[in-house]
Amino acid sequence: MAHDNHKLAIFRGTLNFKSNVQKIWGVLILLSIITAVEVALGIVRPEWSLTKVLGMKLLNWIFIGLTIVKAYYIAWDFMHLRDEKAGFKWSLVLPLVILIPYLVFILLVEGDYIYEVYKDGFVTWNF
């Protein structure tokens, strides 16, 4: 690539790497740790994480949060969005960040509504 100026800091500059290769391994370690935590939580399913927060188990919120963190590092460092111009970066990321939560919100609310109808309505769900 013509411009070989990688940004080598992650965690808002708390962690600086000496070379791009070193940064790649650093990010791998981070992603592996997150995956290991997810798997451990998934197997143990600790009692405290099973309380409901906003209609979903706390554990599931933790999983979704960790997944978004992983997605961020894959996109920012492996797909080197961090090195792209801000205009390019955000023209790719913002449509996804706006449209996907919108779709999630609409369809999950609708799914829950149908569940309530089956449960409390006059229609039996047994078909």
Partner: protein, 325 residues
Amino acid sequence: MEATVTTESKEKVWGGGNEPLRASYGKMMMWFFIVSDALTFSGFLVSYGFSRFKFIEIWPIADEVFTHVPFFHGNYPMYYVAFMTFILIMSSVTMVLAVDAGHKMKKTKVTWYMFATIIGGLIFVGSQAWEWATFIKGDYGAVETKGGNILQFVNADTGKRIALEEFATTIPSERDRLERKDAFWFQSEGSLPSYTINEVVEGVKSHPNVLVKTAFFDETGHKKEVLSREESLEALKDAKLVVEGANLTRNEYGHPLFADFFFFITGFHGFHVFSGIVINIIIFFNVIIGTYERRGHYEMVEKVGLYWHFVDLVWVFVFTFFYLV
């Protein structure tokens, strides 16, 4: 565009002679493809979420569905998918290393890193095929009621799942599989389950330690409800079919939509991995014959790299929503 075959660096330049947003034409179009593909995948995953919320009370628990590890017997939820995730992340790393070596014009390094990436991809696709085979084959077997509910069986003494063959009786019967050669018109049917519904019901009646586990969650909200002996026999009066394994219409693990979405989403993702491997192999040979060395840059490696990372990115979400949440 003849750009795909040229070996000059002119290829990076747009018709207007500049690079808007400092990205070459090919790279930008790869990114636009990725954005649209990401929206496709989110459509699939959100429709999975929709169906799950619709049948939230009877949705299978992933830990009870994916419990196998190749070459090992026993109950090991999650370990194998965790391994698959790690393989895919690892192959993503070798891919970035290949891109990085490409920036420095190190042909041998690019070759070896591309090779490692392809191997990682093959291991992943192979694992997924194994995962599918295990899921289709099923393990314990279950019965389906008239209303479409799935009833599984547990051993009252240990609380663990119990396979049909451990308690089903054998009742001689005349029912044979309908094959096309025996049919009156062009009819045939899939393979019959190992036991008839009567054999399973009689088996439960003669084994007092067998209880029925329903698809519903119990009062704790994270375990499936196990019926008492009387309730079990009562529930079995509605039993209509024996289900072993999963396909697009029946699913011994729970609601059939779970199997449908599993096949569809992991299948679509697996197809992406497969095409990624094919593209990687093409680029790998191009690296070997020195196409990019003559062209003066390895941007092509960077572009397939973007696609490969995207496949990894999608898997991270599939992993979360199918296996963890």
